[in-house]
Amino acid sequence: MTEKKQGGVSRQALILGGLAVVLLVLVILFFTGGIGEKVKRFVDAAVPKASDAAGGQAAAKTVTLFFLSDDDDFLHKETREIAAGPTDAEEAERALVELIKGSEKGFVSPLPPQTKVRQVFIGKDGLATVDFSRDITEKISYGSSSELAAVYAVVDTLAFNFKPVKKVVLLVEGAEKETLGGHVDLSRPFLPDYSLVAR
């Protein structure tokens, strides 16, 4: 008795569900002018997501980080895989976290390891704003060389890996700071300087 009733209910639900789907498709077609362009894009966008879930693997992006070497005064490139997407700003934040974490090939990070990346914002004008925790100024006593290296490791890492980034501003604890350690002027945006990078 009860089984039969349940069967009836589910059949009803199936019909209702079917109708709802048809209605939804009609509504979508109506709003997209029936061309199906937007629907198609929607479907395309959903495809990689589905395969990610199936493969259990997030998309990766290879970034180039800039470290110091014990043997010379240049910045040295080292590549690293980070999780990709969804935005440039989030990838940039991950790249900077890796830069702070340090090298896997014996190079040295110019940033104090305690430093946290509070936020990265990339504006439409190509200006990237990076906000670091106060550790970036307090956990190291900078000389001119180490301060220039710290600033340009950040600036070059962002500009080299993220096409929209043309110039970079550094903040500390959400505020503008004169310098990190008494040398390099932070009040103006930095352009990347690859002359500091080993060839």
């Binding site: 110091l68 070497s69 014990d70 043997d71 005064d73 040295v108 110019p110 006593s141 900078y142 000389g143 001119s144 060389s145 180490s146 220039l148 290296a149 043309k166 110039k167 004169e178 310098t179 350690g181 008494g182 040398h183 390099v184 002027d185 932070l186 009040s187 103006r188 945006p189 930095f190 352009l191």
Partner: protein
């Protein structure tokens, strides 16, 4: 002429392995340089600090600008993450300008008579910034010459690695309205150079070298 002993007070600057602080070494060298210049040249030398006190970067440039300094020399000891980093170098300002600013500046330099008409009079900050940049640009050539001569003398006298002259966007150099250089005498982060920097003999050599470079600059200004 204004001599600026880097750092001071709570702001120690770079630290050496043996506990020497950049702020103490810069003051010692600056006092020696002031004495040599006053003994040998006829003009007044003002220090931005003559003891171990905090002086903000703005106040340092204000001292130079209020006293109408004709030359500004900032004395520093370098610090690097790499212990092996060594040598002497002399900096002058790079304006760290963005592309747009650089283009605007280049345009204005070549069309200075049109300056008033080309600028939006409502944006006072922009105007001040551009005028300031123009003044700075005018000093850069002289600063570069002074840096070159001082660096040659450092190289001749100190026996340290010659790292040459370089441009950097150093805050202390951005606010000074005259030719200005920043001397990084040697690396306090390098244990061997730290010990040299702490010795009165080596400090005197640095002061003498800067003085010789300065003397050559004043004799042959261009």
């Amino acid at each position: 002429m204004v001599i600026d002993p880097g750092h001071g007070g709570m702001e120690t600057g770079a630290k050496g392995k043996f506990g020497n602080l950049e702020k103490d070494i810069t003051l010692a060298i600056s006092l020696k340089l002031k004495a040599i210049v006053e003994r040998n040249m006829g003009f007044e030398v003002v220090l931005t600090r003559d003891k171990d006190v905090d002086v903000s970067i703005e106040n340092r440039s204000a001292i130079a600008n209020n006293r109408k300094a004709g030359l500004f020399i900032s004395i520093h000891a370098n610090g690097a993450v790499q212990k092996k980093a060594a040598g002497s170098e002399t900096f002058f300002l790079s304006l760290n300008a963005t592309d747009e600013e650089t283009r605007r500046l280049a345009y204005l330099e070549n069309n200075s008579s049109e300056l008033q008409s080309r600028l939006d009079p409502s944006s006072d900050d922009d105007l001040m910034m551009i005028l300031w940049d123009m003044a700075q640009t005018a000093y850069i050539k002289q600063s570069s010459r002074l840096a070159e001569l001082v660096q040659e003398e450092l190289d001749a006298m100190l026996g340290t690695r010659n790292r040459g002259i370089k441009q950097a966007p150093f805050k202390i150099l951005t606010g000074v309205a005259c030719p200005a250089i920043l001397v990084e005498a040697a690396f306090i982060s390098n244990p061997a150079e730290e010990q040299k920097l702490a010795s009165a003999d080596f400090q005197a050599k640095i002061a003498e070298a800067i003085y010789r470079g300065l003397a050559r600059y004043l004799r042959v200004p261009e």
